[in-house]
């Protein structure tokens, strides 16, 4: 399991960028004293931590409940029809086929479509118009994720560890350098493939401060298992301070 580390990619104010990159990598462990992702526990989709993930979890529970009812009904009907057909003798063939085969699924599909549309809306719309948006570029490769704070004045790259400011809409634009990977943070919800030659976008909402496990969901070779990453949602002030400090530490070490 590679330790998360921070790299300053380039520096607008000094000319010692290559040194900065090397040194910052060396001190990365100190900057990110987070536990290794694989050593982290998660309840996955069962402990949703963003509006979208909460909506999906609720939708999932609703579907599970509805599905259980349908499953029980159909199984009971099948067993009853086999063992005690007299109980169903008042229903005609066409009533059973129309009712069970057409009406029941159509109602189910309409209900599901409504639920899906509602949840889909949460995914695509921002929590509120004045929520700030942070854009991050992610590049996957065998077998690590690199996150690039593209819009930040201090351009920085994190490997295996994604730090996000609290209560912010996040837009991650991703691609891959080699094979197809898939970005997934179960507790924040949603999944997106990182495909070579393509740029795909996922929108997340970083809520309250905390830690979340991220995974690669698309089989990407023998290192697939060892490709988790951590997501750390930080208070905004800490996040800004961290980016600045990270940069300064990198720069200070670079002078040696």
């Amino acid at each position: 399991m590679p330790m998360p580390r921070l790299t300053i990619l380039h520096d607008h104010s000094t000319s010692s960028a290559p040194h900065a990159r090397r040194t910052a990598a060396a001190i990365g462990g100190n900057l990110c004293p987070r536990p290794c992702a694989a050593r982290m526990s998660t309840d996955g989709m069962l402990s949703p931590a963003s509006p979208f993930a909460v909506d999906v979890a609720n939708l999932g529970w609703a579907m599970l409940a509805g599905g259980t009812v349908v499953l029980t009904l159909v199984t009971a009907l099948a067993i009853l029809a086999t063992l005690r057909p007299s109980a169903l003798s008042r229903l005609t063939d066409s009533r059973l086929i129309l009712g069970g085969g057409i009406v029941l699924p159509v109602i189910g599909i309409l209900a599901l479509s409504a639920g899906a549309a509602r949840t889909g809306a949460t995914m695509h719309h921002r929590v509120s118009p004045d929520t700030p948006t942070l854009r991050i570029e992610a590049v996957a490769r065998q077998w690590e994720w690199r996150f690039h704070y593209a819009d930040h004045p201090r351009d920085a790259v994190m490997t295996g560890h994604l730090r996000l400011p609290e209560h912010t809409d996040i837009e991650i634009v991703m691609t891959s350098e080699d094979v197809i990977h898939s970005f997934w943070v179960p507790e924040l919800g949603g999944k997106m493939d990182a495909t070579p030659g393509h740029r795909s976008t996922i929108r997340l909402h970083a809520g309250a401060p905390g830690h979340h496990l991220g995974l690669c969901a698309e089989f990407c070779g023998i290192g697939h298992t060892a490709m988790p990453f951590t997501v750390e949602i930080m208070p905004t002030a800490d996040f800004d301070l961290w980016l600045r400090t990270a940069y300064q530490e990198g720069a200070r070490h670079a002078r040696f």
Binding site: A38, R39, S41, T42, G44, M45, D55, V56, L59, G60, M63, G67, V70, L71, V74, T75, A78, I79, A81, T82, L83, L88, S89, L91, T92, L96, I97, G100, G101, I102, P105, I109, L112, G115, A116, T119, T122, M123, Q142, D178, I180, P186, G190, K191, M192, D193, P196, G197, H198, S200, L213, A217, E218, F219, C220, G221, I222, G223, H224, T225
Partner: protein
């Protein structure tokens, strides 16, 4: 009576399979179908053993039982074996054994093709298993997504071996599909209308068509990937104008119909066992036929639901999602038609304490498991949920509920139900029931928990997990369940074997069925199945098989008296079922075996890199296929022949629509699907792949294109003329042959003008399309050459025009598809133009 007995014996002798080495020459549907079933069950055991290895690895955290690479190989081969070497061949085998008997025919339309299909399957499967033994196994999962499966990330022969072996098995599936479709359309009992057919007949008609349309995309994709791996032609490499997503589109436009290719025959099994148990014809027959047709159609519209996270356009995601949910309607119709059949039955209800037939027990298991799997499938069709659950163990659980519950359970029911047809014995005793309960508990224990594993965030295909991940207990439960399940399946196999050897002797028609497969006076049926082909009136699932068996044993019906040692069965009008022709079936032959073996050897030579040898072997295989001797009935004109019951019918050689014409049409359907896949690849890449802004679009000389177009028209016109002229057509046949030869040669000249085929997808695509055209010119030349040879042998007359009918049909198709192939570069250029 004596007379009928001697006819009976003569027929039996004609249709029998020889012992010893003669077994390799078997072509009988019953024998070949059983071989498919037995071989597929052997592969089921292999796939099951691999599954157990996966469950051992995942049983405990930080397991060291398999390496990451070993785990990847194991799940790749597990999926491959189960999908391609177990499921499809099992349903093919079952259909081959049952279908002719259900429809009132003595065999399938193309028995040698059935045998060829079987040997292709065996050699393809052995290629993959041998690769496994030698460690030549892909590690990219059974859907082999590039770039992971490309030469850069999967070096070595493992992936190549997979691609070739699977293509071989697909050839087998296409051969069987052609065979089944034509058999359903033409070879039926007299008077059996299309709307009288048993549900199994409808199902195999639709499933055959789905295989013809659904398998070519994978074959094309495999060929493109193999060309990229071996010759560096870029189709999936985004840095050279290719696109990894192209593979996903092609793969899933095969992969999703394939799911229904498995489910529909399983549903047909339910549709034949449930009415038998209920003692009445199935409820809502027309509804069920409609449901089968709509499932077949819808199944081609939902491949995208495997790609919701691939970054498809929102609109197409919504469409794929809607289509995926809609499939619940025809499925629901079938479920409730079965419930209605059971609820309003005529057979007496089993009294308290009386046991259900074992097959019904498996059907009830199917109801529960399949509905559960179907409901999680609907959940996955809901996009936001899918974005969370896709590629987790939730999907693995869903898929196994559908495949085990929706396919394996009904198939086991079908095996128990049809055992008397195979061995004349039926199952009894407790082992079968214990096996059922073990399987039912095993499936639920293994896979119900696995939904939770997925919801807890465990992605599929991870080789292990840490102890603090919280996934330990659920995985241990699944692994424990898998042991129960494996014990259950082992018990089923033992029970089936014991029944074959020692089961209770079964009287004819043991279940009081309503379909023709039970209309046999003895069990197992004789090789000719029917001593006389019966005439039926009304629906073919509400017959009285015992009476029909008595009648046909007395020789009442058609074609009861053998002549000239011919193997005859009745050919009917596809729609009305009116008798139209006498179909002559070929005798035993070793050639299917040798042809498949030669193709297998050619594939191995490709792997070994010796292309000249591969070419020579491929030519040899074609030569063997061409040397299949034509039936002696075509040596001279016969005119109408006595078919029994005062009816006179032409032999197939003298009929304007012989089974071969239907066979060619079916094969051309598959050909069209292959062309459409290649066409789609070009249009898709030009429209969506990166790096097409300054694509090097080839400039093929206009003169050559015009010559090709002219040759296509020439081939079509001369073949039409040849067909009109009949016996005096030699000059036109020669013309058709020459024009087709030109269609074969001009693409070779055009290929010479292509440059940079390894640098960009655009010229590589044109190369692929030109090779396609070249290959079809070659096929046209072969058909033309065959017609010349037949004409010289005196096998073509004004009455006997089969070769000319085939030539005309083929060359018309060649002209249309050739025009598409010629238009292809222009269309690609137009789309790529900024």
């Amino acid at each position: 009576m004596r007379d009928f007995d001697s006819d009976h014996d003569a027929l039996g002798h004609l249709w029998a399979t020889q012992p010893g080495l003669g077994r390799f020459a078997a072509v009988n549907h019953h024998v070949i179908g059983l071989r498919f079933i037995v071989t597929s069950l052997a592969f089921f055991a292999v796939g099951g053993a691999l599954a157990m290895m996966l469950r051992v690895q995942l049983a405990t955290p930080d397991s060291a039982f398999l390496t990451a690479s070993g785990y990847a190989r194991t799940f790749t081969i597990h999926g491959t074996v189960m999908m391609f070497l177990f499921a499809i061949p099992l349903l093919e085998g079952l259909a081959m054994v049952l279908l002719p008997k259900m429809l009132g025919a003595r065999d399938l339309a193309f028995p040698r093709l059935s045998a060829f299909g079987y040997w292709c399957y065996v050699f393809g499967g052995l290629t993959i298993l041998t690769g496994m033994g030698l460690g030549l196994v892909p590690e990219a999962g059974w859907f082999l997504y590039p770039p992971l499966s490309s030469a850069a990330f999967s070096p070595g022969l493992g992936t190549d071996l997979w691609l070739l072996g699977i293509t071989f098995v697909e050839i087998s599936a296409i051969a069987v599909a052609v065979d089944l479709i034509v058999s359903v359309l033409v070879l039926r009992a007299a008077g059996m209308r299309l709307m009288d057919m048993p549900v199994m007949g409808w199902t195999m008609l639709v499933v055959g068509a789905m295989m013809l349309l659904g398998f070519p995309p994978l074959m094309v994709a495999s060929a493109l990937l193999e060309a990229e791996r071996t010759f560096g032609l870029p189709f999936f490499d985004p840095s050279r104008g290719g696109d990894p997503l192209l593979w996903q589109h092609l793969f899933w436009s095969f992969g999703h119909p394939e799911v229904y290719v498995m489910f529909l025959p399983a549903a047909a099994v339910v549709s034949s066992i449930v009415p038998t148990f209920a003692g009445r014809p199935i409820a809502g027959y027309r509804w069920i036929v409609g449901a089968i047709l709509s499932v077949g159609g819808l199944s081609f519209l939902l491949w995208g639901h495997h790609m919701f996270t691939a970054g498809l356009h929102h609109g197409s995601v919504a469409l794929f999602s809607a289509a995926s949910m809609l499939i619940a309607v025809p499925t629901g119709v079938q479920l409730f038609a079965w419930i209605a059949t059971l609820a309003r039955r005529r057979a007496p209800t089993p009294a308290r304490g009386q046991r259900l037939p074992l097959a019904m027990l498996w059907i009830l298991g199917f109801f529960f498991l399949f509905v559960a799997g179907g409901l999680t499938g609907v959940m996955l069709a809901v996009v936001p949920f899918d974005l969370q659950a896709l590629d987790t163990h939730f999907v693995v659980a869903h898929m196994h509920y559908v495949l085990l519950g929706g396919f394996v359970f009904p198939m086991i029911a079908a095996l128990y139900h049809s055992l008397p047809l195979v061995s004349g014995r039926r199952q009894e005793g407790r082992l079968g029931r214990i096996a059922f309960w073990l399987c039912l508990v095993g499936v639920n224990l293994t896979f119900a928990v696995m939904h939770l594993t997925g919801l807890l965030g465990m992605p599929r295909r991870v080789a292990g997990y840490g102890s603090e991940s919280g996934w330990t207990a659920v995985n241990l439960l699944s692994s424990a369940g898998s042991i129960v399940l494996a014990a259950g399946f082992a018990a089923v196999m033992i029970d089936l074997l014991l029944t074959l050897r020692r089961g209770r002797r079964s009287p004819p028609d043991p279940w009081r069925g309503g379909t023709l497969e039970w209309a046999t006076p003895v069990l197992p049926p004789t090789p000719q199945v029917f001593d006389a082909i019966p005439r039926i009136t009304g629906r073919a699932d509400s017959l009285q098989p015992r009476r029909i068996a008595e009648a046909t044993a007395r020789g009442e019906g058609y074609l009861s008296r053998p002549r000239h040692g011919w193997m005859e069965t009745l050919g009917v009008d596809p729609r009305t079922g009116a008798p139209r022709q006498i179909v002559l079936l070929p005798a035993r032959s070793f050639r299917p075996f040798w042809a498949a073996l030669t193709i297998g050897a050619a594939q191995i030579s490709v792997l070994a890199g010796s292309y000249p040898l591969a070419g020579a072997l491929a030519c040899l295989a074609v030569a063997i296929l061409l040397s299949w001797p034509p039936h002696p009935v075509g040596n001279c004109d016969h005119g109408p022949l006595a078919a029994g019951q005062g009816l006179f019918l032409p032999a197939q050689t003298e009929h304007p629509r012989p089974p071969l014409l239907w066979g060619l049409r079916a094969a051309l359907l598959a050909d069209g699907a292959a062309l459409a896949s290649l066409f789609f690849a070009g249009v898709y890449l030009a429209a969506f792949a990166p790096g097409w802004a300054d694509a090097p679009l080839p400039d093929i000389p206009l003169g050559l294109q015009l010559v090709t177009a002219g040759s296509l028209i020439g081939a079509m016109v001369t073949a039409d003329k040849a067909h009109r002229r009949g016996r005096k057509a030699m000059i036109d046949i020669l013309g058709a042959f020459t024009w087709a030869l030109a269609v074969f040669l001009t693409p070779i000249a055009m290929i010479q003008t292509l440059t940079g085929v390894t640098t960009h997808a655009a010229p590589a695509l044109h190369l692929a399309m030109l090779l396609w055209l070249c290959l079809h010119g070659a096929l046209g030349s072969i058909l033309g050459g065959l017609a010349i040879a037949r004409s010289l042998q005196g096998r073509i007359s004004d009455l006997r025009r089969t070769d000319l009918i085939l030539l005309r049909c083929h060359n018309r198709w060649l002209a249309v598809t050739g025009a598409v192939a010629l238009a292809f570069p222009h269309l690609v250029a137009a789309i790529a133009a900024p």
